[in-house]
């Protein structure tokens, strides 16, 4: 269970506050106008920002004293999710640790790459990919990493309708298969109806 308890942070003149809970294995979509504090919430959970007050707890353990590296979180950013100067395959290896992590195998990665339509791209460099292709590669890595808590900041931006449907289906089935707890920011009501167990409006 993810519990966010009276969490506050100052952003410029505004004081943002968050209060929510999400059961393990569920998917929460987050919606709201630009600048409302959606990405700030994800940054707080991931540890990139420190709150002024309140607590973030995962399975009854506070995360606040943990560094980014120590938190059980896998996050997809809005941009800069891949190292541009190394191949896609190497990018995937970095996040997935296939040799040491038994929960995901190379076959799982290949299957996921096929499902997302990116299996031909693994030997290329990210600079040779379109925005949508990069997004799908990064999405694949984020969800297959071993961390139970997955934060996705507008993961389907730049995808055409068909690919978007393909990607949302894959996120849903993978999250269920690996029992991931997902917080996903989106501006599309369609994503909410397809994916969400609950929806948060900020």
């Amino acid at each position: 269970m993810l519990l966010i308890d009276k969490l506050t942070i100052r952003r410029g003149e505004d004081m943002l506050s968050y209060d929510l809970s999400l059961e393990a294995g569920k998917i929460m979509t987050i919606q709201g106008r630009s600048g409302a504090g959606k990405s700030t919430l994800l940054d707080l959970i991931a540890g990139f920002l420190q709150p002024e007050q309140g607590d973030i707890a995962w399975n009854n353990q506070s995360l606040l004293h943990l560094s980014v590296e120590q938190r059980p979180v896998s996050m997809l950013f809005q941009a800069h999710n891949l190292f541009e100067h190394i191949s896609v395959a190497k990018n995937l290896q970095l996040g997935l640790n296939l040799s040491t992590d038994n929960s995901v195998s190379e076959v799982d990665v290949e299957t996921a790459a096929k499902a997302l339509g990116v299996e031909e791209l693994l030997q290329r460099k990210p600079t040779a990919l379109s925005g949508g292709q990069r997004q799908r590669i990064a999405l694949l890595r984020t969800l297959l990493r071993p961390e139970p808590l997955v934060l996705l900041d507008e993961p389907f931006t730049g995808l055409d309708d068909a690919t978007r449907e393909q990607a949302t289906d894959w996120v849903l089935s993978t999250a269920r298969q690996y029992h991931k707890t997902v917080l996903l920011i989106t501006h599309q009501d369609e994503d909410v109806s397809r994916l969400a167990d609950c929806n948060l409006k900020i």
Binding site: D43, G47, S67, V68, F77, H80, F83, E84, H85
Partner: protein, 536 residues
């Protein structure tokens, strides 16, 4: 985050040690000179007309050199930018790099052959022409610094996004509007910083002024320091001059670092597929400017060639240039490799401080002005302070310090390598810092999110940095290979370097021999630039 893990902290400690290592020579040098001088600083010198004359000349030549270098560089950079199909454009950019790092003595030998008392072009210049004095110093400083400014401005222009030109074309705005709305905003910040940087280089200039200056009417503070140490061993006077130089150059450098936001451009985003159309008349003017720039940069180098013909076969064989060449290369490579390592290490705490400061800001806790924390300012200042600390004071101070402690003759060559390392580090910092900061900006969060170890992180940084490391290595290697100032204090005949050999020949008016040594050094430098440009 990654910087705060155990190996990250260890690198931080090594980084602070590197900073201490490069700061120590400055502290020791001043300490030794102050201790040796006994009487301290000769403040009465400040009201002496001799001091006023050299201060005025130092400032005048530096202002003129910086202004002219940047003003002349601008049209050349425009020609390179607006006419991408120029013949020999890549070679010209390589030549620009070569000229900036060219050992000063090659240039001086070339200028003397071209414009000296019996130079080729002197008959065209009239009876009154005299290379020695302000004319010669300005010519040499423009030759050395204009190419650097060309490259910097060209890079700045290349950073203008295609979308701006597309929008301008679509809106059908005039050439003047294009200049005011696109080109000028892209370079105006850079012009000031660039002028300041060239000013500092010229203000601290040593070899050019030593060779082409003369008398109090054409002497800079750096040369006056050298003279007061070499001829009178008047340490209080040297210290006074050194403090004044440090104060002026240091203040300007500080202001540049504080207010002149260097907009470093990402090579990843510098692709260009759309260029504005240039009117035919402008094309012709730009083409002419480009041709003139070629002539200006090539003439002093070509002027070395006839000197070679004046040498007969016996003299060719009699010249021992092999070992000086090897010594120059070994010294240069050692200093450059050490400088790269130390620079990487000393940038680590700086990056750490920057990320800390950014985190504090993002969390709403301000500890900084314009995103810069005090710690970051201090670290940057320390990392680059050797650019403004007078090299002559550094060398002589250390000489005085070591004189009673070690056998300077025996260890002199080691000190030459170490001091050269310290002096070239600011240039390595300028080259490597933007790329590393860009890495942090783009990937710091990703590295932290992927929970990469320090080892994995370094593996990712290596391909990202490789090209910059190679080009930085080439740049600082060439700068170290051209050293005369440090060698003049610590070097000796057993370890002769090529620049010192040139200086020795030129000092005894053996210009053909000096030309030959200069050409060899030029060829070695040219090969290094070629290798570097191929890597680019």
């Amino acid at each position: 985050m990654h910087f705060f893990t155990l190996p990250g902290r260890l690198l931080g400690v090594l980084g602070y040690s590197a900073l201490l290592l490069i700061t120590l020579p400055t502290i020791v040098a001043f300490y030794a000179l102050i201790g040796f001088g006994g009487d301290g600083v000769a403040w009465e010198l400040l009201s002496d007309s001799y001091f006023h004359a050299i201060l005025y000349f130092s400032l005048k030549q530096a202002v003129l050199s910086a202004g002219l270098s940047v003003m002349l560089a601008w049209p050349v950079a425009r020609a390179l930018y607006y006419l991408p199909d120029l013949y020999g454009r890549r070679a010209f950019l390589a030549l620009c790099l070569l000229c900036f790092v060219l050992p000063t003595l090659i240039l001086i030998t070339g200028l003397v052959a071209l414009l000296g008392r019996s130079g080729w072009l002197v008959p065209l210049l009239g009876e009154d022409w005299n290379l020695y004095g302000l004319h010669g110093i300005l010519l040499a400083h423009i030759f050395l610094n204009m190419p650097f400014a060309v490259r910097a401005l060209f890079l700045q222009l290349q950073g203008i996004p295609d979308s701006s030109w597309r929008l301008a074309a679509q809106l059908k705005i005039t050439g003047r509007q294009r200049f005011a709305l696109i080109e000028w905003p892209a370079i105006k910040g850079r012009l000031l910083v660039l002028s300041g940087f060239v000013f500092v280089l010229c203000f601290n200039s040593f070899a050019v002024v030593l060779a082409l200056g003369g008398g109090p009417q054409a002497t800079t503070l750096e040369v006056a320091i050298y003279q007061s140490l070499k001829y009178d061993f008047n340490i209080p006077e040297a210290l006074t001059l050194a403090w004044v130089q440090l104060l002026i150059a240091g203040s300007l450098f500080f202001l540049m670092a504080r207010f002149g936001a260097m907009a470093w451009l990402s090579p990843d985003t510098a692709s260009r597929s759309f260029m504005p159309r240039v009117p035919k008349a402008t094309r012709v003017v730009l083409y002419l400017v480009y041709m003139l720039a070629w002539c200006f940069l090539l003439l002093p180098l070509l002027a070395l060639m006839p000197g070679l013909l004046a040498l007969d076969a016996e003299k060719w064989l009699g010249l021992n240039v092999f070992w000086p060449t090897v010594t120059t290369l070994v010294l240069g490579i050692t200093a450059a490799a050490l400088a790269l390592l130390l620079t990487y290490l000393l940038l680590w705490p700086l990056r750490q401080a920057r990320i800390n400061s950014q985190l504090m800001q993002m969390s709403g806790r301000h500890n900084s002005i314009n995103g810069y924390s005090r710690l970051q300012w201090s670290l940057e200042w320390l990392a680059t302070h050797n650019l403004v600390a007078p090299a002559m004071v550094l060398s002589v101070g250390l000489y005085v310090f070591f004189l009673t402690r070690i056998n300077v003759d025996q260890w002199g060559i080691v000190l030459v390598a170490l001091l050269n390392t310290v002096v070239i580090i600011p240039f390595a910092v300028q080259q490597m810092r933007p790329r590393l900061l860009q890495f942090d900006d783009q990937y710091q969060r990703l590295c932290a999110s992927l929970k990469l170890s320090t080892g994995q992180r370094l593996q990712i940084e290596w391909p990202w940095m490789k090209q910059v490391l190679i080009s930085t290595f080439a740049l600082v290697l060439l700068l170290a290979m051209g050293d005369v100032a440090i060698f003049s204090i610590f070097g000796n005949g057993d370890w002769m370097t090529l620049p010192w050999l040139i200086y020795s020949y030129a000092g005894t008016y053996r210009i053909p021999e000096a030309s030959l040594a200069a050409v060899i050094l030029l060829v070695v430098c040219g090969l290094i630039v070629m290798l570097f440009e191929r890597n680019n």
